[in-house]
């Protein structure tokens, strides 16, 4: 394993110190692993708290700031944070209008956020939890833990964050978040596994000519292993998996996110974006907004995920609203 780190057990804290040094507009509690926007709590504003295992950077800490999250709680690499973190964050950002927890649907995240929400409620905080589960690679059934939360997390944090910044109340912020989740679908492809600092070896073996379809963001293998083929073919497979569950047709306006898993160069992501745009055009749907880059990653995994969110006027306006975070910034 070759990584730019000191000790595996220090990675998250060292990185958080780096975040603190690079971003004076954030307040970082390195010890408890919570990243706050410096001006929190913002009184009268609904606060957004998210969190999850580290290794998905810039998610979530890179999305803390005006117009998006009030606090992010990174756990150890690929390990959900502990309730103490979310409890501390919830108390610290509570501005009197309540707190929304944005929780990616993983057993660990769900349970740790649940315990935190219970404790916070005991302390009298108003908490609404929003579950993100956009990954169509997992069938949502009795036989799985349900769909995973992946790329849509960014869309939800951005759009709900915008509404909160505009003064939306707890109920409406939570419901616009759920609305984005309902209108978003993702599918991921891995060309390689990734290597966690503590494990030190790739999370799975993948022959030189094979790839994993339907991967998550924790280095877990996907649903199916196939021979590598062209970007056009792979994009067709991903898009079809999305359309089978949630079609985009004539007149539909899509927020298209082609997200790198961490080890894939940007030039390839644009090649994939081009294929997505062609496929949507064939169906008469439009690329209304676009995001191309590494946003919800899986350490050094090579590959990408495609997220399609069906926009309406409300969502488009909130997407376009100003945001000022380390990883997403416009309009300010």
């Amino acid at each position: 394993m070759k990584k730019l780190i000191n000790e595996p057990d220090r990675v998250v804290k060292d990185a958080l110190e780096g975040v603190a040094a690079a971003h004076p507009e954030l307040r970082v509690d390195v010890e408890n692993q919570v990243v706050y926007r410096a001006d929190s709590p913002v009184s009268g504003k609904v606060a957004l708290v998210s969190g999850g295992g580290a290794g998905h950077e810039p998610l979530h800490a890179g999305f803390v700031g005006p117009g998006m999250l009030d606090a992010a709680c990174p756990g150890e690499v690929f390990t959900s944070p502990v309730p103490d973190q979310m409890l501390a964050a919830t108390k610290a950002v509570e501005g009197g209008a309540g707190v929304v927890h944005i929780v990616k649907n993983y057993t660990g995240d769900v349970m740790n956020f649940q315990l935190a929400a219970e404790m916070a409620a005991d302390d009298g905080a108003k908490v609404e939890s929003v579950l993100v589960n956009d990954d169509v690679a997992v069938e949502d059934s009795l036989y799985t833990a349900g769909r995973r939360g992946t790329g849509a997390t960014l869309c939800i944090e951005k759009i709900a964050g915008a509404l909160a910044e505009r003064g939306g109340d707890l109920g409406s912020v939570a419901s616009v978040a759920r609305k984005v989740n309902e209108r978003s679908r993702s599918f991921g492809i891995a060309l390689t596994a990734c290597t966690t600092p503590s494990a030190g070896t790739p999370t799975f073996d993948l022959p030189d000519d094979e790839i994993e379809l339907g991967i998550g963001i924790h280095g877990e293998p996907g649903r199916k292993r196939v021979k590598i083929t062209s970007a056009a073919e792979l994009t067709k497979i991903a898009a079809q998996a999305i359309f089978d569950d949630y079609p985009f047709d004539k007149g539909d306006k899509a927020l298209v996110m082609v997200n790198g898993m961490g080890g894939t160069p940007l030039i390839e992501l644009y090649v994939v974006f081009n294929e997505v745009a062609k496929i949507l055009a064939e169906r008469g749907a439009e690329v209304e907004r676009a995001l191309v880059g590494d946003y919800v990653t899986s350490l050094d995994m090579a590959g990408c995920s495609i997220t399609l969110c069906k926009l309406d006027q409300e969502l488009t306006e909130l997407w376009d609203a100003p945001v000022k975070t380390p990883a997403l910034r416009w309009g300010s």
Partner: protein, 221 residues
């Protein structure tokens, strides 16, 4: 003082016993760190060993500063420390189990195998309430449930604390092995669908280690 020795003077499990048990668990989580992580790499995200080891090291540190002579209080501390330090799925699950077990013991500095069983049942219940897993879902539960059933059976048969914990450990390991052919329905492994078949569940494995540690304490004297 081991359970056997305790048994002679009325099968008393005391604080020292619980501390010894947890110390042995912590030791074996450290020894099996890589192994558990490799199991998790196959069907999960390659961190279970790291998580358990981080958690129980924190527990040992914490217990060092706890004076209590009350076994129940000690188990409660173990549980809340796991909740606060482990994260992932295993943290809240094992954490709630130990904490609830501790609470169920109530206070009093001594207890016997039957009262310990009641406490562990309460712990298992808390875990299932939080995680909603049943036997056959390829989780911790697949090792935990049979272990307690075997415990009950040997207890009813009038077995010694040593034999009780041996049966429990054997049943836990059998439950652990029984997860190999299963398709996971809970946790990360469930994302793999049929591809989760053929791999041993990491959590069921760590549970077997916990009962093995208990047997070693009970066996010693």
């Amino acid at each position: 003082m081991g359970l056997i020795a305790a048994a002679r003077k009325g099968a008393i499990v005391d604080a020292a016993f619980v501390r010894e048990w947890i110390a042995k668990v912590s030791q074996s989580m450290q020894e099996q760190r890589e192994y558990l992580t490799q199991l998790d790499a196959a069907i999960g995200d390659a961190d279970h060993g790291v998580n358990m080891n981080r958690g129980f090291s924190a527990v040992m540190e914490k217990l060092g500063g706890v004076e209590s002579e009350d076994p129940g209080e000690i188990l409660t501390v173990v549980g809340s420390t796991l909740i606060s330090k482990v994260g992932g799925a295993a943290g809240p699950l094992y954490g709630s189990a130990f904490r609830q077990a501790g609470k169920a013991l109530g206070d009093g500095s001594e207890l016997d195998p039957s009262r310990l069983l009641v406490a562990l049942r309460a712990g298992l219940e808390a875990m299932q309430k939080l995680g909603a897993a049943q036997v056959g879902d390829k989780t911790i539960v697949d090792a935990f449930v049979p272990a307690l059933d075997a415990w009950q059976k040997e207890l009813d048969a009038g077995g010694s604390p040593g034999s009780i914990t041996t049966r429990a450990r054997e049943a836990a390991e059998e439950g652990m092995r029984s997860t190999v052919p299963l398709q996971a329905r809970k946790g990360r492994a469930s994302y793999l669908g049929p591809r989760s078949v053929g791999h041993q569940d990491p959590g069921a494995t760590s549970t077997a280690l916990i009962f093995a540690a208990l047997e070693r304490v009970a066996g010693s004297s």
